[in-house]
Amino acid sequence: MRWSSTRSSARALGIIIASGILFAFAAFLVLAAAPQKHLSVYSTAANYSLPIVQRQGRDYVGLLELLEPLGSVSAKFDSRRWRLHYNNILGEFTVGESRVRIQGREADLSAKFFFENDRGLVPIDSLSSLLPRILGGPVTLHVESDRLLIGSVGTHFTAAIAPEDSSRLVFHFTAPVNPSVSTEHGKLHMTFSREPVLAPASPTLTFDSKTITQAKFSESNGAAEIDVTTNIPLMANFSPDGQTITLEPSKAQTAAASNTAPPAPPQKLLAPSPAPPGAVPSARRYFAVVDASHGGSDSGETLSPSLAEKDVTLALARRLRQELENRGIPTLILRDSDANLSLDDRAFAANNARAAVYVAIHAASSGHGVRLYTALLPYADEEDDGPFRSWSTAQQSSLGASQAVLASVAAELKKQQVAVRGLTAPLRPLNNVAMAAFAVEVAPPGLDLSQLASPDYQQLTMSAVANGIADVRAQLGMAP
């Protein structure tokens, strides 16, 4: 009897331990599988996204990171108090408390303020009341979809069946858009992750067409989506100004159905062929692609104990985009938040943008001034295939243009008395980019590493880089 009791107790203990292990394993799996949430921010200064973190069951975001692209911002932590300066506005936050002071006036957050790893975290659902006090203007927060619009930046759209052809659906947007488009049986999805596209009066639009029956607007996880329901394969055509998207029957699908399609290229990585010299692709909406190297778990070089390369490259890339756009050069930034992007992802995105020039931004603690690099191509182990370029040497046909841009940028940096050096480097993704491409590695001007984070130094170098690109824009296919 006693032995039996002991055995049942041991079995019970074993079950409890096994259950605990299984529960911990299941919790780990659930947490590991949960997708990273992002807050998309749209403003006249910049569009960007920020990682959302969860604290005590609520969504939080770093306030300093949110304000950084919008103006001059700094913060200081002293004991439990975090003091934030945005332009001339002072915000005071206390760890563990929801009451804050903005310019001496009290306000309430919806939950406690957190300070972790030099980041001041505020609950997202408080942004609609907090930000107007700091920014001095209206903000619109879409809580369910994690989208934040600062000022009047929304992009509206209309959709209508073309009068002459009921199988064509035409979208008109109030600003240029560049959605990612995907299809599945009976659906075409357009995802707008970079544009503040807003819902029409009714989220579901129905059409008097046998082939395209409806378009439905939705938004979630920092992006807007339009799902078009159709019973034929559709393809999306973009107007040169990026404000009109026409969905029409896919000619390729029709050709495939009649067995007249050309054979598919071999299954290897290939880059699209660049446009002929002097030609301006009709679908080009961005002239320049700026790539903030590293990001997410890849911090790049640890420039100093408090300064990672990935943060400096992001700040430099944002400045370069601003400088290029100030010169009338439409610019796409590849990484506009602390996100992981593989080298292949960067090259794919750059090639798909069909821009004229690609700029990779790096930062370094060694040496001084700015180093510029064009690609040092690897030993060619595969050949181009018809109109497609070998992935590993896609840069080959653009090397001349790359060197011309590098020379122009170097000349502009010299004009600004910045020490500059031009080299080649075995550096991806330069090799995989089918357009003029170069990398900029910014080192401090002297021995002081903190200069890498200095707004004045960043402005000086990126302004010169933008001037160098603008000087050769005609050679690269853009009207001066």
Binding site: S5, T6, S9, A10, L13, H294, D298, G300, E301, T302, E309, L343, H362, A364, S365, S366, G367, R371, Y373, L376, L377, P378, Y379, A380, D381, S392, A419, R421, L423, T424, A425, P426, L427, R428, N431, A439, E441
Partner: protein, 199 residues
Amino acid sequence: MIPRHLYIGISVLLAAVLAMTIYALRMRGRAVATSVSPSDTRPVAPPAAGPTEQVTLFVAYDDIGMLQAHAARIPLPSVRQQRAEELLRSLLAIYLDKSSPHPLPPGSDVRGVYLVDPGLAVIDMNAAFADGHRSGILSEELTVASLIQTLSTNIPGIAKVKILVEGKERQTLAGHVDLSGFFDAAGINQLAAQLQNSP
């Protein structure tokens, strides 16, 4: 409800697990410390016997961001593959010295060099070399250019070079310079020429 002797048994087992964990951690720490100990750094002594030969080593200098050609006399074996390994070890010896112009991580070593006809050289470096390498485009490319240019200058017939780490392909050396492809020896020769010009 659980009998006392069961509590005692589990407690003893947990104590044993804890003790073994502490012991294992201490042993691991000792092993790590041993592997990165400065006393283990190369240079590897050259062969005691054999004639010395004049070679050209391309040495990186971080302070000026340049590569400089140095003439040296080192004993080299007659077998081509072993000559290649000794050449690179002589180069690493300079980088691992206290007065190194381009410090490499302690314990950096060449695991082997394989010369595969026609014209392919495979350099297999150890993990310490890559894992502790300083990050930065220029810093990484000085290392790679130094190794390959030294090899291709002194071992005729090398057209392309592959760098492996612990026998495996690696994407980048330390976050920048691409190690996934084959280096074109002619391209590296041009890069070495660029790196020998003062900035």
